[in-house]
Amino acid sequence: MEILQNITFGFGHALTWSNLLYCAIGCSIGTFIGILPGLGPLATISLLLPLTYSLPTDAGLIMLAGIYYGAQYGENVSAITMNIPHSSSIVACIDGYAMTRKGKAGLALLTAGLSSFIGGTIATAVIAGLAPSLAQIAFLFSPADYCALILLGFVSVSYVSASGGVLSGMGMALVGALLGSIGTDFGTGVQRFTMGQLSLVDGVTLVSVALGCFGVAEITRSLDQRNTFTPFSGKIDMRLSMPNFRRIMPSALRGSVVGSILGLLPGGGPVISQFGAYAVEKKLSRYRREIGQGAIEGVAGQAAANEAASRTSFIPLLSIGIPENPTMALIMAAFIMKGVQPGPLMMTQHPQTFWGLVASMWIGNCFLLCLNVPLVKQLLSVLRIPFSVLVPASLLFCCIGAFSVHNSMDDIFVMAGFGFLGYAFRCLRLDVPPLMLGFILGPMLEENFRRATTLSHGSFVVFLERPISATIIGLLALLICWKTFRFLRARLRARELAEQEAQC
């Protein structure tokens, strides 16, 4: 019954007028930004991070979380109506857009909205049930265990963001770790890589890195591509019939389970969960033959999984204190700026923040369903904003955002530098999100590694002696072996095929 008590406590905090307002603002901004092509949730959160300084702690965090999961729904909207894929709505383009072409855009949007609601509700329950007990386990973690866990994060993020290959993903995460080590060394006070710049003594500001790499670089990139979109103007009929509802439910439930699990794993989150849920639907659904040609199941499963994963990915951050994907790394920065250290102690030190946030996630769900689903036509008008207005406005917001962290112009220069780097990385087809995660995890890894080896008087055995770290390192080794095996096998097959073709 402790859970019920905690949840009512959380609702008590989340249901104040100001928190409700910020939750609604967050969800709506998130949906808006999700619809807009180009700016993903990472860019949005980094743009709005500085705005939350002037808000109270709980309200700021509730708003940021709302942006994150609101964006998942928004990305589905632009995928379904206009076939614009974002990183976490690639799958929604297949069946969702097929439904739109059949004239069932309204049904597809409603399916996405309803499934998101179901996925979000289940995932919120999972957080409330799982996070406190996981935090109890986290109390047992020693520096060596943290080290192993962070290493797992490094490796899995480089596998997940596979668009440029595993090697480049790993490389980017490590470059992020190097960037994170700029500034005063925590153990000895030596200034590293500051090049004599006073503004770098405290390290590179995370907001400048995020705004540069995501905000400025994405704007520059979209200027390059010069694409303009005409908003969807077809009819949207939002009525739901009972047979359709019966088709949505099982898929949404399956998607929620898949999403909740995949969201928990390191490196996980909405991006991989959509593929997982879609694969499950293709195997298990009663209408599996229709999937791919505009089946309700193809939309429902992945929408539920997206929404569920975007919430359960909060669990490792809230209960262990380790962000598992780049977006969570940014949210962690927001927590720290607010003076709340996410981790096992958070639940006892700031219970109202924790439970208020969990409760607000469910309230945000209701906002998405009651406000953003019926108003989807109005939301789509965001695409009418001409590019020539969007570009200078976003650049100005980036500048103000970077400046407001320390009230310093130097941060704008740093941001511009990272904007250039981010653009160069995109041109080289190197994924920037692993860099972001490396930037946060790198210093944590160094600190815990140095603590662990100091405690063990310089021996590596400590990592294999402790049961938790030994298990994680074993898992890591298995993961790497399995992936290498699959890679080699694929190579071999490709070579055999090529030889066969050559013989023919």
Partner: protein, 139 residues
């Protein structure tokens, strides 16, 4: 330019930049790690990844690298100009510079539209400092 080759070279450059500096810091040993140990280790790994990529690019078909210097230069100039002008004169002048320079990267150059955008963004900047308390000097 071959994208795979440039990728590898970029990683090597980063590794050299950080690695050379890190090797000048005290390394220490594992029991008492100095400030240079962790960055040097990471730089070495990044350098190895870069080398593998450079070697690997010899065996792969080369892909063309698109890098639009004009767009980046314009965006960078507008950002740096905004910061410098805001520091010297005030944010409202900076906004004018930002809008008119960044518009150079667009397809059409429309004076009237730029003027409207500038006015709108000036109001937003004012609101930022008046309502949200951002410490930008306006004029």
């Amino acid at each position: 330019m071959n994208r795979n080759l440039v990728r590898g070279l970029a990683f090597i450059a980063v590794a050299l930049f950080f690695g050379i500096q890190a090797s000048t810091y005290r390394l220490g040993d594992l029991a008492q790690a100095g400030p240079g140990l962790f960055p040097l280790t990471v730089s070495v790994i990044v350098g190895v990844i870069g080398l593998v990529m450079v070697v690997g690019s010899r065996f792969r078909p080369s892909e063309l690298l698109h890098f639009n210097f004009k767009t980046v230069a314009i965006v960078m100039a507008s950002l740096v100009g905004f910061a410098v002008l805001t520091d010297l004169v005030g944010a409202l002048v900076g906004v004018v510079f930002l809008v008119f320079v960044s518009a150079l990267a667009g397809e059409k150059y429309n004076w009237k539209l730029n003027l409207k955008i500038t006015l709108g963004l000036m109001v937003i900047t004012y609101l930022f400092s008046a309502v949200l308390g951002v410490g930008l000097r306006l004029y």
